[in-house]
Symmetry: D2
Subunit: 300 residues, 4 copies
């Protein structure tokens, strides 16, 4: 099988490598010539532009986009579209918002698959988990590629119509935030608590048979092993949050309570309040107002 | 009527003043002679010790304790008890834990009233809200004093048996935390949000007829007037929390969900995590673990 | 002064009454002829249509809309617009979404004021709290009307440019949800807790001098007085939630944590899950999965 | 090695089986003679009482308690103690409160190990995760038994001094509640959301390579496979909660915010409010109070 891959960042490169390794042909393009060269070294045929990539693919083009969510996807699709027809298949393997995917599926001249991809760079060896939305025939057509990119046949599933792949991935990410925060609460209590514990040991014994074992807990174990039981110099300002925000917004739309996911999300917002949380500052002034508790002041 | 007042801090002094003003006699004692002198200046008869105060009161002693919750109450009661019998009445007007009040009521030789007192120093002029637990006859006996200390006859109520006064006051304080945090959330959103608003104006117009008007909102208005719409130099580390903790513990005991009160309480804990929240630091390391997001580091 | 009022529901009728009472003239219209008749009985001049109302107003028209938020506002404005020019002023006193108000202000031929109105039907006597956005000259022009509709000169404020009035009202409503939920938590704990308390008494004594006194707490007192201390037959499914949802969405947009407002909002969603919360049902099956705890089953 | 096992419920029987299978000798006792007979069938030597069990063990007794947390542990220890000396080792493998374990360790005549045991009945084949507190020499002495009962040498760890094993297990359970609730939120959103999804498929593809893969997610997959994607007749009232309550209480004690664990815990409390949540009922009455929204009433 022949696959065009557009977008050769960390994740796109893994797609290239796994597809090549499975014995397929890859034509690769990225705006960064160095990334194209790396893919070529790995065995892919380099393309000079989106158009060139499309030209090099024969009839029944199969193309995997791994470009940053947002405008880059639309720009790439605009360049691609003149080269596409209804027998072609485009996969968006990035973290796109599901409503964008629904819209793109409607206007794209090819069949359009929205593919939520989980597993991160660590999936290079194990393979990814792929949640795919869009036309069933296109999903089946791409099965050899999905087999290669995923952990195997069990690592990809057809979720449903257009947008459903990115929808399930969006919820996955919301869940991910709350799982991380949950382990964080547990370890914070153990760290501040009554016993002087080796948290790597705790994570390790939990990972061997405890109800709460998981891959994220294996990453906790790794974190304590590499950073020390007090996490050394790791700081507490957390970036990111867009997919979690989408999840909470969809919960509001569907009137589904998501208090744990919400709390985990806004913990990130709170961590970025560099001048101190306004609500806390007001509370301090109110405590003076009714109880004459001394108002703490910033040092300048 | 003659009232002994033990404990002449800010709140105790207000009790003295209001009771004197209502035309009653006060005998006052505090470990700090200056506080006793101030009370004497206001018209109270000074006592030199707890025993001396008890001796100066005739039969049917009525005594108001306004000492810090905890050991100081027990110590004072220990000194008082030899002077007390079942026709005497002791009021604990402080922020005692209700189970301590139940215990003290059982061992005290006098009738024992636990009196939750709300209103803060600002109550000096308006009077306090008094929630009183203990024997009904003792509550009625003290009515002239309660009328004087409270906002009037409507400002005090008999809640029920021993401990119920401090129980209701404990819940009051939990509610207070969450009300403050709620206004804080609203003003934080207005402060960070799309419009350049004068928050004093917002608080003022809300206080004139809006559903959410309240005394705490009047204190918000005062805060913005005195500190400026961005709260100037007020810092964000919030001290305190014991009565809120009791409320949440009682919620656990009674299996009553108190998510808003809990969240407002632990916001204080979080504001005191000077080295950064451990849970957030772990999240950052995990985000590297699965997504190779760069780990932020503390500057040293 | 002459004011056209369109929309004569409960709130619109109060506007008519208060403006008339202040000595102004009112021309009134509603799709429901009975409502128009009621306004006419109160002293307003009835109009037969939006156009008719516009015709009856002279130059420098001043018009107050009190129609349901959403399409009804747009439909009314469409009918009005041919009659308007830049010297006219339209006030939207309803619960419109602030971004709709920004959009309407841009296209309306008259000066447009978005006016958040709080106080509910209870404001008939006291007057409302009015948060007004839009051109300053228009706000000043309408001052006599605002003085009449509000609690007085302190009951209305100019918040800022277009949309700011409804923006502040949106946040007001989010705060309102969380304040209600907070009092609910407190009274739920008192109701389920250790003492047999008269909750009307508790609310009453708190309203007389306690830190947490407020108008909502007065409504709690009324609730217990009229329904009984156990709230009698009042059910627990809570409708509504749109303005709270907007507040939370804006918090996500501005990256401001609003955990109390969020929790209060989704409490409503949860109260409407008639088949049982899916998350809880899954938890029960998982408890069987790892611990063989018996799975509870629905009775059919 | 020879091990006495007291308490032959589901978990105790698994201990017996795994220790026998590893080639050790077991003397078994339970108050229920049938349970003893089952153990005997499996190859254990039956005992007739706690004393009899102690007598049958030689010097350097090693005894594993697997009785319900609480009074049963104290009662058993009281019966055992006259037979014990400082060369003996008692393991409490149940879900005891860590402060009880500290107390028992102090008074027990033998060395005392508190052993948190996770994995549930499902651990019969795989083995458990064991978190052990108490004297190091005793932990090492019991290693062959721990190797047999756990998943192997990596499945047990010495956490620290007395109580630390049950302390870590307590936190484990708090984390467990929040992980379950997190997955529940995600699947609830998918169930109520925009797409008609097969939740078993979703869980399956997530378990194959996604960041959020875990054993609990495997149990979710099993739940949807066995109950159907809508969880069939599973009801939503959740029992239990004691270990989660302990975790939250310890968080209050240590001033560590645990909002996700708290929320997951009180979700259980809320699921058991058969007459409707009081706080919601009050909110409905307040909505009438300020907005004349109709009060919903219970049908009787």
């Amino acid at each position: 099988m022949q696959l065009g891959v557009i977008g050769l960042g960390r994740m796109g490169q893994i797609v290239v490598d796994r597809v090549l390794e499975a014995g397929h042909d890859v034509i690769a393009f990225d705006l960064d010539p160095e990334a194209v060269a790396t893919a070529a070294d790995a065995g892919a045929e380099p393309a000079e532009s989106v158009s060139d990539l499309a030209d090099r693919l024969g009839e029944e083009k199969r193309i995997w986009l791994m470009v940053p969510a947002g405008d880059a996807v639309d720009a790439t699709l605009e360049d691609l579209d003149p080269h596409l027809d209804s027998e072609d298949v485009v996969v968006d393997g990035g973290n796109s918002y599901f409503e964008d995917s629904v819209r793109r599926a409607e206007v794209c001249s090819a069949a359009y698959l929205d593919c939520g991809t989980s597993g991160g760079p660590a999936g290079a060896e194990l393979g990814f988990s792929l949640m795919v939305g869009g036309p069933e025939w296109a999903y089946e057509e791409l099965t050899p590629v999905f087999d290669a990119v995923a952990t195997g046949p069990d690592g990809h599933e057809h979720m449903g119509e257009a947008g459903s792949g990115h929808y399930v991935k969006m919820v996955h990410n919301g869940v991910e935030y709350a799982l991380m925060q949950t382990y964080g609460e547990g370890f914070e209590l153990l760290h501040e608590g009554r016993y002087d514990l080796d948290l790597e040991n705790v994570a390790s014994v939990w990972n061997n048979g405890a109800v709460i074992r998981s891959w994220l807990l294996e990453l906790c174990e790794e974190a304590f092993r590499e950073e020390g039981t007090d996490l050394g110099t790791v700081a507490d300002r957390i970036e990111g949050g867009s997919t979690g925000t989408w999840t909470v917004q969809e919960g509001l739309e569907q009137e589904v309570p998501l208090p744990l996911i919400y709390t985990a999300l806004v913990e990130r917002f709170g961590s970025r309040a560099d001048d101190g949380r306004f609500s806390r500052r007001l509370a301090n002034r109110l405590r003076y107002g009714f109880g004459r508790h001394e108002v703490p002041r910033r040092e300048d």
